[in-house]
Symmetry: C2
Subunit: 504 residues, 2 copies
């Protein structure tokens, strides 16, 4: 390899190494740190952020990338190690150097106040307290979008969304979301008026937290999550973090009356964790060793949560073990009762509590609103009205107040515009990829019924995890499934599961 490329990779790995140190401090803060450590920890995090930013934006990196891009040996095959690394390094270097320092500082400062004000506003359910801060965040994000720039057929929202999902454009999202929205609305409406409703028996079950902990550990292990290279802890908001494929840390949450929910949350995070553990270790610290996007990451968590954990096949294996090892009321349920309880589709107004079908409508509301906010078609003050109007139209529900309406999510208070669609992209990718897995492994569901998950895990390791960021998300989707992203597989999945359950 040419000297410039070697130097570039060494420099990039050095920065990634420091980033992984910040990741451990972040994990520690959320899982282990005593309350008295907060002030000192914020200083540690600020110091690391400053050092990482300096390293990532050093002009030497720009020079090295340019020198490598001029070397045809390195870039002629667009999917070679070097070309893929250079494509991604160019993208992130440009993004991190395009914002002027004073804008970055103003965003950070405003964000930290805005998050605080949002908490207050939500507690009082008073949007007017948050409106001026949302306005500031909108203004700053639009200025940032202008710094990033966008193509002649693109728009401001695209420039921001690119930071979460490479190549995601609002018009493409719209093209996939629109048919999905229409058909989901129809499906949900049919379910609402259906003659039969799934069993709600799981709702009354209580399980001691310790028993839940060891059970979710067992299921994560069965999925193939490697506890020699990972761990699981308890937090209020579950997440997945770590330093490298050898050290992947997931968290989950427990409540006595939420045993099955804790299991779903664990399978979700373990799905993220399997992706991280499956990345190629020889490329750690470079784009080739990194997950490709939030949307693809979410496809892994949703696949294990929804396509495995909410399938009747999984429960035919799992419920007898619940009966034997957890017992009590939980053990008295049948596999069908648990399966039904985990697949109740009911429009409501809180995103994070939404079921698999209605969830995507919550995302669409947010996508449309943030797109308009970035285009200048809506202002902060329009938000409550426009939010509530869409909830009525798409989900048929009356939002009772702003706390349970447009103040429910943290994202916009933190200046994250363009993030929400990655959740639904995750569902879409999961469905489309899972159809391909079923094609390749016809007896996949039989393996679930036997508690064998290594066929699915190995398939994902080989066809998805091993690629890191070699391909863009769209390329990866085409490469794996042979087709561009479509709403059809997700709709087929939901229709074929929910209509029989509701006899609709």
């Amino acid at each position: 390899m040419p000297a410039a490329y070697e130097e570039l990779i060494a420099t990039v790995k050095d920065t990634a190494l420091l980033r992984s140190t910040a990741a451990i401090l972040g994990w520690d803060q959320r899982t282990k740190m005593p309350p008295g450590g907060v002030e000192h920890r914020s200083k540690q995090m600020a110091q690391l952020a400053r050092m990482i930013h300096e390293k990532a934006t050093a002009s030497r990196i720009g020079e090295l990338i340019s020198a490598c891009e001029a070397d045809s040996e390195l870039v002629s095959d667009p999917h070679s190690d070097s070309a893929a690394n250079l494509r991604e390094l160019r993208r992130s270097y440009d993004r991190s150097t395009k914002l002027p320092a004073d804008l970055v500082e103003e965003m950070a400062r405003t964000r930290s106040v805005a998050e605080h004000e949002w908490e207050q506003a939500r507690a009082k359910s008073d949007f007017s307290l948050f409106a001026p801060w949302l306005s500031k965040n909108i203004d700053l994000s639009r200025r940032a979008a202008e710094c990033y720039g966008w193509g002649p057929e693109d728009e401001a929202w695209d420039a921001l969304a690119e930071g979460y999902e490479v190549g995601m454009r609002a018009r493409d999202i719209e093209a996939v979301f629109s048919p999905l929205r229409d058909k989901l609305q129809a499906l949900i409406s049919d379910l609402q008026s259906a003659p039969r409703h799934p069993s709600t028996a799981i709702r009354t079950v209580k399980v001691a937290i310790d028993a839940q902990k060891s059970f979710v550990h067992r299921v994560a292990e069965a999925m193939g999550f490697d506890f020699q290279r990972g761990r699981i802890d308890t937090t209020v908001h579950p997440f997945c973090s770590g330093t490298s494929p050898g050290d992947v840390r997931i968290t989950t949450r427990f409540a006595e009356g939420m045993f099955f929910e804790a299991l779903m949350a664990t399978m979700h995070e373990a799905g993220h964790g399997l992706y991280e553990q499956g990345l190629p270790t020889e490329h750690t610290g470079t784009p080739l060793g990194r997950a490709v996007s939030l949307g693809i990451h979410e496809s892994q968590s949703r696949m294990w949560e929804n396509f495995v954990g909410r399938s009747i096949h999984f429960w035919r294996w799992c419920q007898p073990i619940v009966a034997a090892e957890v017992g009590g009321d939980a053990g008295k349920l049948t596999a069908d009762e648990v399966y039904e309880g985990l697949n109740i589709a009911e429009p409501d107004f809180i995103r994070v509590e939404a079921d698999e079908a209605t969830y995507n409508l919550h995302i669409m509301v947010r996508f449309e609103l943030e797109r308009s906010l970035m285009n200048g078609e809506l202002t902060a003050d329009d938000l409550p009205h426009e939010w509530n109007r869409r909830y009525k139209e798409y989900l048929g529900v009356d939002v009772p107040d702003d706390a349970r309406g447009c103040l429910q999510d943290v994202h916009w208070s933190g200046g994250s515009f363009g993030y929400f669609p990655t959740y639904t992209l995750g569902n879409l990718y999961a469905a489309q990829i899972f159809e391909k897995v079923l094609e390749d492994i016809p007896d996949l569901y039989d393996s679930f019924e036997k508690g064998e998950f290594s066929p699915l895990k190995s398939w994902l390791n080989q066809n998805l995890h091993a690629h890191g960021s070699r391909y863009t998300p769209a390329e990866l989707c085409e490469r794996i499934t042979g087709k561009p992203l479509s709403s059809e597989p997700l709709l087929r999945h939901l229709e074929s599961k929910l209509r029989p359950l509701y006899r609709a």
Copy 2:
């Protein structure tokens, strides 16, 4: 404050902040990290060590220290904030810049192999495997001592010991250790032939690990260890770490048959922890906010372990709670039985298992040997013979093999010569300071019997912890007790406790 001093303090705090990040990674590695994280973690630690070394040895620091030292306002009062900080910063800057880079590298490289070879040699109890590596470590440490330099009346060992205990000289240690050795030998010999031996009833007690965990937590809390600013975890080798007085982390270890030992280990580490929690937060990151030495640190752990935890007064409070909350065989013991069981003095050949009295003889053997190794009076090959000879002479025991002899400790394999005496210094300081506490608080033992430990904790906070490194260890000892360090208080403590127990 002059600009040079402000800049110096800001720079020093920045380095200390990064050091505290390394501390968290070290804590994580020993308590939480999955085994698969080892390789990546060693890269993270190496990166941080490199960055910290660069920051700590930057020539700018030397310039700033010199500029400040020339400013009489800053240094005229030797115990002012600025003078104390400058004294300590000068010392550590000089030490960290005196060794040439190639020697530092050779030491690090040799050490990591030597530790590995030591493990092998110990496992096979074959000193000859380790001898060449010990030779190399001796040679490198002597070269390092020459770089540090020593005064006309000092010796090579002093130059190394200074790194662990400011101002510690071999001749001073000898002056304190010699009378201690003679009188301890006489005491132990009397106890050996005494007509009565303390109860060994605690040795058969078994307590479930979970019950032990919550009990040691309760006792640490009673001592005043603040769990809002600290935590306790489980490791094979207990230690105390953290980032700042707001985040202090201790660890302990458990075995079913070692309940009382786990409690003593916890009180020991909590003693360290109270020191760290008691340091002045306004000086975090500077010498004034740092513990003064290993010996003084050890005085805090030993005081809580031996002067509180091994006192009959403590057990008159504690044992009824054991009976009520732990129950079982542990609960059936009387306070006297536990007190006696924790005060059995028996010569043996393993340092870390030694009792309060014989422990110091183990240290003296090591001090004499490492002093001679550094002076060139002994070589590595002489070690087993000289070790075993001293164990026979001082402790009256026949060392069965090298694994349980001169291969038992990790220190020398890691190139740490001059460290061992800090353990006995801890015992000596603890005894001398504790006599002063008893003078100032005559009803101290009554408070122990009521489970009230805040009089002792507050006294230590005020008279010791709050000073950070404002005074040298010797100055601090004089300031607190009015006298230089002496062996008398420790001897009085051991004689007055052990002779009655043994009727000797």
